[in-house]
């Protein structure tokens, strides 16, 4: 009698541990998936992509402005731009929620959004 309860206990604990593990994994992954790359022209949102995706996004602002954005394994950077100053390309890579790349001449803003605990509320430069 005693022994069988102990065995059930172990089974229960083992089962719970598996569930806990899966749950922790799901939470971690879903938190990462929660981060999005948002592309805006001024205040207007023109595109959203998961930060975990790997893609090349051509951005045309309709007024001759062209930028090419790379999203790869959680890191985002502006690969090319036809703006005169190329500051957006020089800015390099961003990865934290709250970081942004701004191309002022083409009025394009690329921002990582999300609410994980490491998200930034602002960036000073």
């Amino acid at each position: 009698m005693k022994a069988s309860i102990r065995k059930n206990d172990i089974l229960l604990i083992a089962g719970l541990l598996v569930v806990a593990g899966v749950l922790a994994l799901v939470l971690t992954l879903s938190r990462r998936d929660g981060r999005m790359v948002v592309i805006r022209y001024g205040s207007e949102v023109r595109g959203q992509y998961a930060l975990s995706e790997t893609l090349i996004v051509p951005i045309e602002n309709g007024q001759g402005g062209e930028n090419i954005l790379h999203i790869e394994k959680g890191v985002v950077w502006m690969e090319e731009a036809n703006c005169p100053d190329k500051l957006c390309v020089q800015q390099g890579k961003i990865k934290y929620a709250g970081e942004s790349i701004i191309c002022l001449p083409n009025a394009v803003v690329v921002e990582i959004s999300g609410n994980d605990e490491l998200a930034l509320d602002g960036v000073t430069n």
Partner: protein, 353 residues
């Protein structure tokens, strides 16, 4: 049944456990859903891109007022706007200023004294000479430099604070660009408060200013850009409430002389007339006073690490600072101890040397 109940319990524990251990301060009563709501607007002004975010029920009205105020101040202050007070005073040589402009001039003159001339609003002719105002860059000759340097020096401005009349010396020109965004961000905080907003954060082209804490009582997390970042990224994160965080660094704008291959960056030392070539890559100032933070970020950058640290020691009740030197080493002043995190080592500068 029993098993299922235990399972639920464990799941509940796991879920609530997620937020455990995170330092969250709760000076405010439990926020309502409406308090946590936030809105942002994006404004292009003062030659830069601005993001304004406000929380709570009054947020929309507050943002509208803030945007109006920014556009008004741009028209008042910009050297690029012909009718601005700054353009007018530069053209006429003397002008009676509005209260806002007068407040900035007064603070600028105070900072000029305090920083031994490192902060100088009369540096504009030098900026023109090097081509930083037009982006037609040019390395001046010694003769050009010494001629232009004779026009530089805020000690040669005459300012009647009571009458708000500013008079320039022969050949002088001023630019409030080193303090205007700090003044503006402070003004936006006032607009937020007047509208009934208690939480908000703005970035005026990288000049960050925040009001209160976030609605849940936690501090704002402000990233400090890694200087000269071709690789991009954040060098450190500082947690702040009710403060401006303003950074200056030569990496933001510079040019390479084709003949010599030398790099010249946009912050010019008013003492020598040359772009700064010191041991710092960036200086970030944390202060409740936006104008002070703006003015000091440039001044301490010009001073270099040792002199800047001494300046903080004698003014530590006014501001705190984060320095990144030419080896990407990070220094923070004592008052920010525990508030700054980084993947790199952090050296704390203490009051006693």
């Amino acid at each position: 049944m029993k098993k299922r109940l235990s399972l639920l319990l464990v799941m509940a524990l796991l879920l609530t456990g997620c937020s455990a251990g995170k330092p969250v301060e709760r000076p405010k009563p439990q926020p309502t859903a409406e308090d946590l709501e936030k809105s942002s607007v994006y404004v292009e002004s003062m030659d830069t891109f601005m993001t304004l975010t406000a929380y709570g029920t009054a947020r929309e009205a507050a943002l509208e007022e803030a945007e109006k105020e920014i556009l008004r101040l741009n028209d008042l202050l910009s050297v690029g706007v012909e009718t601005s007070e700054i353009s007018q005073v530069n053209e006429k040589g003397s002008l009676t200023l509005s209260q806002d402009t007068a407040a900035m001039v007064e603070k600028s003159l105070e900072l000029y004294q305090e920083t031994d001339g490192a902060f100088d609003i009369t540096v504009y002719p030098l900026m023109e000479l090097w081509g930083f105002t037009t982006e037609n860059y040019h390395v001046p000759t010694e003769r050009e430099l010494s001629d232009t340097l004779t026009k530089v020096g805020a000690d040669r401005l005459s300012f009647d604070a009571a009458a708000r009349t500013l008079t320039l010396d022969e050949g002088q020109a001023i630019d409030l660009g080193g303090i205007a965004k700090g003044f503006t961000s402070q003004r936006v905080m006032e607009e937020f408060q007047a509208a009934g907003v208690t939480s908000g954060i703005i970035s005026l082209g990288g000049n960050v200013h925040c009001l209160g804490t976030k609605p849940d009582g936690s501090y704002y997390r402000v990233g400090i850009q890694k200087p000269g970042a071709v690789e991009g990224g954040i060098a450190a994160v500082v947690e702040v409430a009710d403060a401006a965080v303003i950074t200056s660094g030569g990496y933001e704008r510079f040019f390479v002389d084709e003949e010599s291959g030398l790099t010249y960056q946009h912050i010019v030392d008013p003492a020598t007339g040359y772009p700064v070539d010191g041991d710092l890559l960036s200086v970030s100032i944390v202060s409740q006073d936006g104008m002070l933070a703006d003015g000091l970020s440039t001044s301490l950058y010009i001073m270099g690490l040792e002199h800047a640290a001494d300046y903080w020691r004698s003014h530590h009740d006014q501001f705190q600072a984060i320095f990144i030197d030419s080896n990407q080493k990070i220094y923070v002043t004592e008052g920010l101890k525990g508030m700054v995190t980084s993947d790199s080592d952090i050296t704390v500068l203490s009051l006693s040397k």
